[in-house]
């Protein structure tokens, strides 16, 4: 099983580098995962990550992309509530790249 080490603790991941244990996640881990994806975390990036984690906590799945864009639009302003803005933040795709940094499992299927 692949893994990485941070501050003396070992974190297990799947083959794509997604955390195996959701409970392992913390801000340091998020920064580390963002770095592996070449993403520089800003306030806006955190808004996405925090929303993903809240939603996952309730529903056990990442939100549909439109639910995410709407939520971000509400928080950061309407002009930012669209898919293009999310892809500007997370070029690897909000569903896959942002989920990874948020410590959620990789979405599977035709996505």
């Amino acid at each position: 099983m692949p893994s990485f080490e941070l501050s003396g603790k070992t974190y297990e991941t799947d083959e794509d580098g997604y955390l195996i244990n959701l409970a392992d996640w913390n801000e340091e881990v998020a920064h580390y995962l963002a770095k592996t994806e070449s993403v520089e975390m800003t306030e806006s990036h955190w808004e996405v990550v925090n929303f993903l984690r809240e939603y996952y906590d309730e529903y056990k799945i990442a939100p549909m992309i439109r639910i995410l864009t709407k939520a971000i639009g509400k928080k950061l302003g309407k002009e930012k509530g669209n898919t293009k803005y999310l892809y500007d933040l997370y070029p690897g795709g909000p569903a896959k790249q942002a989920c990874k940094i948020a410590g959620l499992p990789k979405p599977t299927g035709c996505v």
């Binding site: 083959e15 799945i61 549909m64 992309i65 299927g109 035709c110």
Partner: protein, 499 residues
């Protein structure tokens, strides 16, 4: 976007020079015990795997006469060699359909023909050993089972069936692909490929109702688990999650609303896709399909309509009846099953729907025939309906349409590069290269006809194109469903809808 080697797009599709072993390094993520065991496969490679593999091949040869025929009758004429998109994109000779099939034929000769048993070198017969298995794992996961090669084969050899058999043999000895096995597991435990639990599905659909209400002022419903509905709507679960898939979902909902036909999704059969076909497992295919048949009975619907999902339509149209039929509780006056394009187009032709084509005037549209719809099914009541119905529907919703080169559409269509269980990130290099022929034809119409929208009816194609087109400098929102066009153009009027 990660760095990948993107092939040059030429004016026309060209046969590449041979690059021996060009994609030999591409490795799939193996399925683990937790993925394999619940599906009835060994959790790891079994000890006597060589014998077990040969025994499984024997079993399949006895069960499927077609497989025996396909392994026996190839005359190596070469017709198929330059027909596979993965060969055209990579130049790897093992991606020539004949050469891919030879990986199994050589093993077949070794164990099942007298010449191969006694003089293996003379007939290029191959042991089912470590090296052979490695090639099987690699190259039978570089075939998207699109069946384009079989269109050009004078004997009609279906190489997809050989790939399916190879994957079935590998699963039987405990060598599986994580992508498909993990997804099938989710279908059984949660109900769909994405793993969307019922409360999330409900929440998502209520959200979509609000979105449509905000945009149109109409109370269009997306109901779940409604007993007594006229139609059970079975969509790919990506329609509940991804862009551009969700645009088509809204299109379906508006069609039912405008036509006043009651319908329901099912939280148990919340997935049209059937990856049992990709791994060649009859048993998994049957199990996955049976959820839908059971839900149709449970909800007491009169018809089943299938959404925009290519291979799901193949399974539904070609296999459902023998897998999980008869569907004797459904209304026999309607086709079983019915495709959403057939449903919408039929309503439109009979005057039941109104479209405002000008809403799509920013688009010049072309249609990509998805492989499983084009070559493995039909639609409607006339031959070739799977080609004409989606195009008729596009023309009904848009003013500007142009087809791609005749050698790349209808039954000669090229795969998107991500079908057959290969829509996974570890194969991104292959997915990019495999799209080359399709992109070449697309760029031709983008140049000559100013095409700026690629419409299609498959969830895999939508995901693959939106991910990979940007590598070819084409924006991701160039791709979308046929019902995305319907969603834009449909006039809802004052109709209240029925649910």
């Amino acid at each position: 976007m990660a760095n990948h080697d993107v092939p040059e797009v030429k004016e026309d599709i060209e046969t590449p020079e041979l690059h021996e072993g060009a994609t030999a390094h591409l490795a799939i993520f193996p399925a683990q015990e937790k993925h394999m065991v619940p599906l009835g496969f060994p959790g790891a490679r079994v000890e006597n795997w060589q014998q077990a593999g040969v025994d499984k091949l024997k079993d399949l040869l006895e069960k499927y006469r077609s497989l025996q025929v396909y392994l026996d009758i190839c005359v190596k004429c070469g017709s198929c060699t330059d027909k596979c998109h993965y060969f055209l994109g990579t130049g790897d000779p093992n991606n020539m359909p004949v050469q891919r099939a030879e990986l199994m034929r050589s093993v077949y000769r070794r164990y099942f023909t007298p010449s191969g048993k006694f003089f293996p070198q003379l007939v290029n017969a191959r042991d089912f050993d470590e090296e052979t298995l490695k090639k099987w794992v690699t190259y039978f996961h570089q075939c998207s089972q699109c069946r384009r090669c079989s269109v050009f084969c004078p004997y009609g050899i279906d190489t997809a069936e050989i790939t399916m058999a190879a994957r079935e043999i590998m699963d039987a000895i405990g060598v599986g692909h994580k992508y498909s096995q993990e997804i099938i597991g989710k279908v059984h435990t949660i109900g769909n490929n994405l793993g969307i639990p019922k409360p999330a599905l409900n929440g998502t659909l209520r959200f979509m109702e609000d979105e449509i209400l905000d945009a149109t002022g109409q109370e269009v419903r997306l109901p779940v688990d409604v007993k007594g509905a006229e139609v059970l709507m079975v969509a790919p679960s990506a329609d509940f999650f991804s862009a551009p898939h969700v645009e088509s979902l809204m299109g379906y909902a508006k069609v039912f609303h405008a036509a006043g036909v009651s319908y329901s999704f099912s939280s148990i059969a919340s997935e049209a896709a059937n990856f049992g076909m990709f791994i060649g497992s009859y048993e998994q295919k049957r199990k996955i399909a049976s959820r839908i048949a059971e839900q149709a009975r449970e909800l007491g619907v009169k018809r089943i309509v299938v959404g925009e999902c290519g291979h799901a339509w193949r399974v539904a149209y070609s296999f459902w009846n023998t897998l999980v039929g008869p569907f004797d509780t459904l209304d026999p006056r309607y086709p079983v099953p019915q495709h959403i394009c057939e449903f919408t187009n039929d309503l439109y032709k009979r005057g039941g729907l109104t479209f405002d084509k000008e809403t799509n005037d920013d688009k010049v549209v072309t249609f990509h025939d998805s492989c499983n719809v084009a070559r493995a099914s039909r639609m409607g009541d006339t031959p070739g309906g799977q080609f004409t119905i989606p195009r008729d529907l596009i023309r009904a919703t848009c003013n500007h349409y142009a087809d791609m080169d005749a050698d790349t559409i209808h039954e000669k269509t090229f795969c998107c590069g991500g079908g057959g269980g290969l829509l996974t990130d570890e194969l991104m290099d292959l997915r990019i290269k495999g799209m080359l022929p399709r992109v070449t034809a697309l760029k031709q119409v983008m140049k000559h006809d100013k095409v700026n929208f690629l419409a299609l009816i498959c969830a895999i194609c939508k995901a693959q194109f939106s991910k990979v087109l940007p590598y070819y400098d084409i924006p991701m929102d160039t791709v979308g469903g046929v019902h995305q066009l319907v969603n834009n153009a449909i006039v809802l009027g004052k109709n209240k809808g029925v649910v």
